[in-house]
Amino acid sequence: DQQVKQNSPSLSVQEGRISILNCDYTNSMFDYFLWYKKYPAEGPTFLISISSIKDKNEDGRFTVFLNKSAKHLSLHIVPSQPGDSAVYFCAATINTDKLIFGTGTRLQVFP
């Protein structure tokens, strides 16, 4: 039972444009959602999170939007840079108990 899903395994975006990564979830009890970036030989790097009581959180080039009625969240990266090329995971938690990760989306930013 995959409670957190990222339906796009890959995304290719031109440098300077917007990258939009999507995530869907099934459990309405999730109260925090997080996005991570991961390079092949490293641990995941935390990017941004959002509480379920909010619908938007911004941090620099990264903005996360949460649509609770649709059980959907998205990460916007503007402008996209070549260094953003990595695998992006969304994750969710209930009462900060443990993280449940999505399957990941590989983002490639080309010049």
Binding site: A41, P44, F46, D59, K98, G102
Partner: protein
Amino acid sequence: SAVISQKPSRDICQRGTSLTIQCQVDSQVTMMFWYRQQPGQSLTLIATANQGSEATYESGFVIDKFPISRPNLTFSTLTVSNMSPEDSSIYLCSVEDWDRSNYGYTFGSGTRLTVV
């Protein structure tokens, strides 16, 4: 935010042997989490380690295969026992954290294990 030192960063092990992975955090934390990422897969929680009590294992993971120690509030080990090629994965430890105003979890750099 917290800084986690995880070692070894990688290892190649013979089947049937065991490997112990260490994580050291630069601050005291109540819970430490151990994850596994199998090739091409997402991250899956193995267990949650609290200091002074038995670790709590997720479905599909057992203490005999993945014994965990948590001797103090800054350190934990995960052992992968009696290894088989199916145990080839990246193993990661994690702690709850705050990064600026964002609630999140910080991860170690991971241990890439190959079992031959």
